[in-house]
């Protein structure tokens, strides 16, 4: 059993500081300026720990020394493929997956090892990533253990169009930019997410996330009704209620109902019908929550059966095709932020068909803190119509 490992040390660094990627030296520089720290190595370690638990010393790990550029990643992939690894495991995001794909495509088909991603990017569109680092470890271990019996399926490597643009600028272009840049958008243009090719990945439907879906529903009257009703609930929330609104076009629709101009790819904060923060970073969110410390304390202490007091609330959408709730494109909602919001104060809204396309209907949280992920686990009502919720399970 030979396992190849590539870790892109800078992958995902932009997430918690409000950037949508860390592709290219400019975004990396800005991420470092905002205080970003490398996350991918620790996530790779979590996956490896799980593999170690399952397979012990039976697995031989081949790691290519620290690729620090796309060219380095490609060289690493080539070297590991030539070393005939049974599985090429990597920690990174779509950019890393693209680089690996490019390297594998230079090799004859039979020399390309199957690929599996430990999710460490900001918002992953490719279908090669496991739900969490631990899930990546499980899938990799099962695949290596099954040897010749293990099956693979074809998975698409995709990336947002124009990644090298300064996406902070495009984010601020307002609603017109939503259709171009958010694959959640109904009626989105086909070029929003670019397919770069396919790789083979281990077959494990419950653990590997599908490609981020963007199919427009036939009718979204139900979703429109759900958004309107949630907007109503925001309007009638107790005075002083702080509502954190996660990224996505569905949550943006709720804000539009309130005649607020949402940041489609960022986290906004609403209080008493007005935006008190736009496109907030983790630090800004924490500052706001700490300014409302008494409310936070009351909310965390309240009896789950009683109506919610004026504590912090969180409104989230679901990433279509993947079922990702936290940890994909919303890393600003860090464990420290989430620990200040009671679970029952989280409202999730999504298109019914988009949810039902998830098979099984599992939502994934990958906050970076495995204990918090466990605490968030269990069943959760996802609002799909003005009067309908679909009960989903958050995979712990």
């Amino acid at each position: 059993m030979r396992l190849g490992l590539v870790v892109n040390p800078i992958a995902g660094m932009g997430g918690r500081v409000g950037l949508k990627g860390t592709d290219g030296p400019e975004l990396l520089r800005r991420a470092l300026e905002r205080g970003a720290t490398p996350a991918a190595p620790a996530r790779a370690a979590r996956a490896l720990e799980r593999i170690e638990q399952r397979l012990g010393g039976a697995v031989q790990l081949l790691q290519h020394d620290g690729p620090d550029s796309p060219a380095g990643t490609r060289a690493a992939a080539r070297a590991l493929a030539q070393a005939r690894v049974d599985l090429l495991l990597f920690a990174g995001g779509d950019g890393t997956a693209r680089d690996l794909l490019a390297a594998l495509q230079e090799l004859p088909q039979e020399q390309r090892p199957p690929l599996l991603g430990i999710p460490a990017g900001v918002k992953m569109h490719s279908a090669c990533f496991a739900a969490t680092p631990e899930a990546a470890g499980e899938v990799a271990a099962a695949f290596l253990r099954d040897g010749a019996r293990a099956r693979t399926i074809e998975a698409e490597i995709a990336d947002r169009a124009e990644r090298d643009n300064d996406d902070a600028t495009t984010r601020r272009r307002g609603p017109a930019a939503i259709a171009r840049h958010d694959a959640d958008a109904p009626g989105r243009h086909a070029s929003d997410v670019v397919l770069h090719g396919t790789v083979r990945v281990p077959l494990a439907p419950a653990s590997v996330l599908g490609r981020k879906g963007g199919r427009a529903p036939a009718s979204d009257a139900a979703l429109a009704g759900a958004c309107a009703r949630i907007a109503d609930e925001l309007r009638t929330a107790p005075p002083g209620t702080l509502t954190l609104v996660g990224p996505g076009t569905t949550t943006a629709r709720v804000l539009r109902e309130l005649e607020l101009d949402a940041t489609p790819l960022g986290v906004d904060v609403v209080r008493d019908g007005a935006l008190v923060a736009r496109d907030a970073s983790e630090q800004e969110l924490l500052a706001l929550l700490d300014a409302h410390a008494a409310c936070v304390a009351a909310a965390l202490a309240h009896d789950a059966a009683a109506p919610l007091p004026a504590g912090p609330r969180l409104l989230l959408g679901v990433v279509g095709g993947q079922g990702a709730l936290l940890g994909r494109g919303n890393q600003q909602l860090s464990p420290a932020v989430l620990r200040r919001i009671p679970r029952e104060a989280i409202t999730v809204v999504a298109d019914r068909a988009k949810l039902l396309a998830l098979d099984p209907l599992l939502l994934h949280v990958d906050t970076g803190d495995p204990r918090l992920d466990q605490d968030l686990g269990g069943h959760l009502r996802v609002r799909v119509g003005p009067r309908e919720s679909l009960l989903a399970e958050i995979a712990a």
């Binding site: 009502r381 119509g385 009067r387 919720s389 009960l391």
Partner: protein, 527 residues
């Protein structure tokens, strides 16, 4: 193996409004004698009289007959092999039609004095006893005009029940499951409840844990079907109902798929407070075309005060039948439909149950499950055909949903193409699925107790043949049907309101047909 050959007639038949000439007519009725004639003004209020004659086609009786005969020759007419799943297709015996058409039934009116309605009241009462026996419930009402109407009746009964207990403010939620017919969620929402839908678990039905997560002191009712349209029976259903009852909610059994469990399962014994049967499906009365239907709604004695009225009553002392009206039942939800519902359908269903008897009903249930298990065994061997929820090992009941996703993937031929091609063999187009479309490329055959082994074999042979064709010559299937007067309808118009025309006037107004009616009497302008 021989396959049925079929070729529909292809008449170039105009619409009836394009036929005829001014002045053509059918029989002339004799003039009314003066002694019995009444002035029109005495019979009709002035407001309903037309100022102009309507624009109707003028044809001879023979031309009308020929026109409709031609149309009928161009359709398959549901007389092929029709395993229309979820619909429980049954032969509607001619004798039952003749009974319902007898003047003693066809010519009566529910407003007549009760002493002149004793015969029909007796039938309704007797049939109520039969359904109480089959379900274990205490009362039935036949007012609802279909299954969804009965589900709505339950949502209203739920509202009235909790209101009577002073808990309506608190109990705002109805729980259902993703494979329960969507009319349950829709009618609960229409009645003002918030709906929580449970997804499927690994065994093909929702997990007990998901129900536990959904149930609370806000639960008003559980509305659930069992088995579902995949044929999967939830064996934990008793525990489900206990959980809902412990929380103070009601449990409603959508018995749409009763056929496979008739006389084997009583809803009341499982703990359900109320249930629904579709007389136009399970109980052998005709259905389709939006025609008269009955959703028979049954409930426990505890819910009886809330039922729609009138209810048929029997005075045991005199043996006479009567009606308990809304005035005598202050907690009744009121009417969901006029009078007592579609009584001719009740009479046909009564005739069906009496013809079968208790043993016959059990045989019918067992045969329908046996036939489906036979189909399961054969279909599982057909290339590209996969059972829904393939991990579930329990036997399916009276139907199974299948997926042809592999055929689509390997040939580009989808389930609509296959459906279109099957009718070339004189087999009715199969039922695919209703919302939600969880199974990709679905097809849901249901053999029931009617279809013979030969018919079931023919249906499977045809499906197998069409799939072989999909692999060998996909274009042949994608361009089907080939033996019908109309091959494929441009479905894009379905989403184009400017192209809809459900009436002649709309067709003229929207320019779908040229000009106005030929030979139509009157000068009524298209509006």
């Amino acid at each position: 193996m021989s396959f049925p050959r079929f070729q529909a007639a292809a008449w170039d038949e105009p619409l009836v409004l394009e036929l005829g000439r001014p002045g053509r007519r059918a029989q002339l009725a004799p003039e009314v004698e003066d002694e019995v004639a009444l002035p029109l003004a005495d019979l009709l209020p002035a407001g309903v009289a037309r100022e102009q004659a309507p624009a109707l086609p003028e044809l001879s009786e023979f031309e009308v007959q020929r026109h409709y005969l031609h149309l009928s020759q161009m359709t398959l007419g549901m007389m092929g092999v029709n395993l229309f799943g979820t619909c429980t297709m049954k032969y509607n015996a001619r004798v039952n039609e003749l009974i319902a058409a007898r003047p003693e039934l066809a010519e009566i009116h529910p407003g007549q004095p009760l002493q002149t309605l004793q015969g029909v009241l007796r039938i309704v009462h007797a049939f109520e006893q039969i359904l109480c026996e089959l379900s274990g419930m205490d009362r039935f009402v036949f007012q609802a005009g279909g299954g969804a109407d009965a589900a709505y009746t339950h949502a209203c009964v739920t509202r009235a029940y909790h209101a009577a207990r002073g808990e309506l403010e608190q109990r705002t939620e109805v729980i259902t499951t993703i494979q329960t017919h969507p009319c349950n969620a829709a009618t609960a929402a229409a009645a003002g409840f918030d709906v929580i839908t449970l997804p499927l678990g690994p065994d093909g039905y929702p997990t007990l844990a998901s129900l536990e997560a959904a149930v609370s002191d806000r639960t008003a009712a559980l509305m659930v079907g069992n088995p579902d349209d995949m044929g999967i029976y939830n064996p934990e259903i008793k525990r489900w109902i206990e959980l809902v009852h412990e929380a103070g909610g009601l449990a409603f059994y959508d018995n749409a798929n009763f056929n496979g469990v008739m006389s084997r399962i009583r809803g009341r014994e499982l703990g359900f407070d109320a249930c629904m049967y579709m007389l136009h499906k399970t109980f052998g009365a005709p259905k389709g075309g939006g025609g008269p239907a009955v959703g028979a709604y049954g409930c426990s004695a505890e819910l009886e005060p809330f039922l729609p009225r009138p209810l048929v009553t029997r005075d045991d002392a005199t043996g006479s039948y009567g009606l308990e009206t809304a005035a005598e039942a202050p907690q009744s939800i009121g009417k969901v439909r006029e009078f007592w519902g579609n009584v001719p359908v009740v009479v046909k269903a009564y005739a069906w149950t009496r013809a079968l008897g208790a043993e016959g009903i059990r045989d019918a249930a067992d045969l329908s499950v046996l036939a489906n298990n036979y189909m399961d065994t054969r279909l599982a061997q057909v290339r590209g055909v996969a059972r829904s929820n393939p991990q579930v090992t329990q036997h399916r009941l009276e139907m199974t949903r299948w997926s042809l996703a592999q055929v689509l993937e390997e040939t580009g031929v989808d389930v609509h193409d296959i459906s279109n091609r099957m009718v070339d063999y004189g087999v009715d187009a199969p039922w695919l699925a209703h919302e939600p479309w969880l199974v990709p490329e679905p097809v849901t055959p249901e053999p029931g107790e009617l279809w013979s082994k030969e018919d079931v074999d023919t249906w499977i042979d045809v499906l197998e043949r069409v799939i072989e064709e999909a692999y060998a010559d996909p274009d042949l299937v994608k361009t089907a049907p080939h033996s019908h007067p109309i091959a494929q309808v441009d479905a894009s118009r379905v989403d184009a309101p400017s192209q809809w025309a459900t009436t002649w006037r709309a067709a003229v107004r929207k320019g779908v047909v040229p000009g106005g009616p030929r030979g139509a009497a009157g000068a009524e302008a298209p509006a």
